[in-house]
């Protein structure tokens, strides 16, 4: 009997799986405060101010101070809220975000304590579909959060999230088909190994652009942050959430950004591979992946500081009338080229 979701023929001993889970969760939890601080600092510089610089050296203690502040706040619940759904919704969001984190590969199979260990949570044969499946579950976190708050702003925010997520999921998935056709596998480690020699950002450039635009929408980041447009909806689906529950949503949002950055790194930027044939020892690989993820995160922040928010009808026509046909065309052309070259 093999293990469900295991693409490779072997599985590590159970203690190694436990250690891997803990390490991956730790990496995720450590990256979020770094990204938080980076966002506030970089946004500050873009807006000609310093950003947080009071807590610790260079303001480095700011994320910790933020988290302590949020966790010690009153756990407020509106009287109109539906109790157990209001309680479950943020947990769904954070569980889905952590679940999706498991698939990002930080390196190939290496030898740790004499055990052949893959530097990834799991390597599934369905690859990107795994992330999409968790995205579908994360959607219910948003939706139920907005609906169970019993507030019009929250409800409208979650409705926008629903429409936006299903619109852009299609284009995002279609953009990946080009990569899968070129790599001829859906396993993420297989896709990285197929990128030896040339990263897919070059042959799949259009796919990369479409994937990134759709990812901005999928993670509700500006310029597609209509679900929490402050000026119109005060705070979108998380308007009524405070304290610990807000922290969960907040963490889930930043974790989703990290997961999407990891996916872009793996699918288009060669994962743990370095350019120009540089072949470092195996322990460098995870740091290469994390550096690439952080580069993508800076790009996310850069775009947030640069572009204004779209209008809602513009969002919908961009998704359905421009991105979807382009990504279909990209998949078609890739398939024709691959068949012709074979």
């Amino acid at each position: 009997m093999s293990f469900p979701l295991a693409a490779v023929d072997y599985i590590e001993p159970w203690w190694m799986v436990v250690i891997k889970c803990l390490v991956l969760a730790f990496i995720g939890l450590q990256l979020v405060p770094v990204v938080l601080l980076a966002e506030r600092k970089i946004l500050g510089r873009f807006q000609n101010r310093y950003g947080p610089n009071r807590v610790g050296i260079y303001g480095a203690g700011q994320p910790i101070a933020d988290i302590i502040k949020l966790l010690t706040k009153e756990d407020f619940r509106p009287r109109t809220a539906i109790g157990w759904l209001f309680f479950v919704a943020p947990i769904l969001s954070i569980v889905a975000a952590f679940g999706a984190l498991a698939i990002i590969p930080y390196g190939p199979v290496v030898d740790i304590f004499g055990v052949a260990t893959g530097l990834y949570g799991i390597d599934v044969s369905i690859g990107p579909l795994y992330v999409f499946a968790f995205g579908a579950i994360a959607f219910y976190g948003l939706m139920l959060g907005g609906w169970s708050s019993g507030s019009k702003y929250s409800f409208l925010g979650s409705m926008r999230a629903a429409a936006q997520l299903i619109s852009y999921e299609v284009a995002q998935g279609m953009a990946l088909i080009g990569v899968i056709i070129t790599a001829q596998t859906m396993s993420l480690t297989g896709i990285v190994e197929a990128q030896q020699g040339m990263w897919y950002v070059i042959p799949q450039f259009f796919g990369f652009i479409i994937f990134m635009v759709a990812s901005f929408a999928e993670t509700n980041r500006p310029p597609f942050d209509l679900t929490e447009a402050d000026a119109e909806l005060t705070g979108g689906y998380m308007t009524e959430f405070g304290g610990g529950r807000f922290t969960l949503y907040f963490f889930a949002e930043y974790l989703n950004m990290i997961v999407i950055s990891g996916m872009a790194t793996t699918l288009f930027l060669g994962g743990w591979l370095l350019p120009f044939g540089i072949d470092p020892p195996a322990w460098v690989d995870p740091f290469v992946v994390i550096a690439k993820i952080l580069a993508f995160v800076v790009f996310f922040i850069w775009v947030r500081a640069t572009l204004p928010r779209l209008r809602y009808d513009q969002l919908m026509s961009l998704g359905w009338k421009i991105l979807l046909p382009l990504s279909t065309l990209n998949a078609l052309v890739t398939a024709i080229v691959v068949v012709t070259l074979d």
């Binding site: 009997m1 093999s2 469900p4 979701l5 693409a7 023929d9 599934v124 044969s125 369905i126 579909l129 795994y130 999409f132 499946a133 995205g135 579908a136 579950i137 959607f139 219910y140 939706m143 139920l144 609906w147 409800f155 979650s158 409705m159 629903a162 429409a163 997520l165 299903i166 999921e169 596998t185 859906m186 009808d313």
Partner: protein, 223 residues
Amino acid sequence: MGFFFVVFGVVALAGAVGVVVLRNPFYCVLSLVVHLIALALLFLLLEAQFVAAAQIVVYAGAVMVLYVFVVAYVGGGDRPAALWRASARQRALAIAFGAAVFIELSIAILGSGLRALGTGGPDVPAGFGAPAQIGELLLTRFLLPFELASFLLLVAAVGAVALAGRRGGLGEDRDLSPGRSTLDLPIPAARGTMAEGVAGYGVTTPMPDPEYKGRKLEEGEGV
């Protein structure tokens, strides 16, 4: 594995029962989502990873999203509006059809399915249920049903577009297509002024008299 099978099976059954039993339509939809996710987990136990992922992405992630969308807008409340009341004949028909489906399923299960009980189940070859295998089957053995299903979906999509297009889009007073600014829109009858708020919709707001030059201050008045 047997333990997980029982757990997911019970959750799937509970979800299915919930869809029928619960009164609030929003909870019915959520119950259906739970049922679909439990089904996906059962597929996972059967090594059908692709089917499991497709189940979650397509059903929980797209189809049910639309259900939630609609129910959240029009449903809600513990006592939904009675849109439709079943007559006695319809109830009898429903019971008859339910019994027919039950008998049919019982024949199918008892006639063939239970022979595998007590055996270890079929041997699963390596790579079973992987996307590559499913893709190959779809393009060879099941090509015709696959193409027919996609044709059916195409027809449905064209029909949806035709139905949506019949309304003729936004009216002239709301058309903000490229090249038109808000300044091109006609001024609506109600302008949201304070006078309308007091006297009701349709009250023409008195415009300031352009000839009015102000009045002289009385003795002892003003600053």
